[in-house]
Symmetry: C2
Subunit: 160 residues, 2 copies
Amino acid sequence: MAKASRACVVLLRLLAAAATLSAAVVMATSHESTTVFGLTLDAKFQYTPSFKFFVIANAIGCGYSLLVLLVPPTSSLSRFVVVLDVIIAMLLTAAISAAGAISEVGKKGNSHSGWLPICGQIPKFCDHVMGAMICAFCGVVIYLVILLHSIHTVIGPLLP
Amino acid sequence: MAKASRACVVLLRLLAAAATLSAAVVMATSHESTTVFGLTLDAKFQYTPSFKFFVIANAIGCGYSLLVLLVPPTSSLSRFVVVLDVIIAMLLTAAISAAGAISEVGKKGNSHSGWLPICGQIPKFCDHVMGAMICAFCGVVIYLVILLHSIHTVIGPLLP
């Protein structure tokens, strides 16, 4: 039982690493150039602090997911792992949320602030960002499952 | 010992409720009108989806913090409270992050997207948003302390 549970957690962590790595790579490779009224528009993730934060957070999430596999489940460090899991889950949530807020402005604009939507001009870039956010969302969901599993095994069955 | 620990958690939850309530109220009462080149600019939190999300998330966080005080610490529901604490902490993180991403654009703009900074025109509104974000950040930190406390009491001392 303990062995199956451990294998399950390892699988989940590998999935989380894959999801966050994909999110970081898809966002980092998003790039599109277009010409509007003779002006060249260049869209890169580096131009938006929220997207930079997204890439860094997902890279940290991926690195952590792999590193934590090295911690033996019986060591005293495993207590810190639960704490770190919570913090990484919050970091990934923050990254998706910040990128989502900017994407929303990019897609719909904000007439009250005079910010025009730009996804019509750079649809490929917007699709890339959307894809990266879906990957990162999968990562957060997996982290939530890992946390539920930790709480379940530590505190006792969630369903009486 | 158990009584002191319980009193500590109740105090932390009341503080979290106060912090999230302040955040929601400060954001909800932010409003500024200004005239630029003869045009009236009206800044309200309702005009930005991220700020609406911020108010709703903090209202949920405040309501939850108060409701959860009714759950007796020995009931079987207390297992769910840890799970809900994690989810509320993630919700508040997402709210701050989304509001922060939009504030950043409001403050510095994004020349690559053609979005101009607007905080120069509506400084009072921006200060309100900043204040709300600081309150919400306090709320998240308190939730993190509550979670650390739960993990500490349930799994065992974090510091061996």
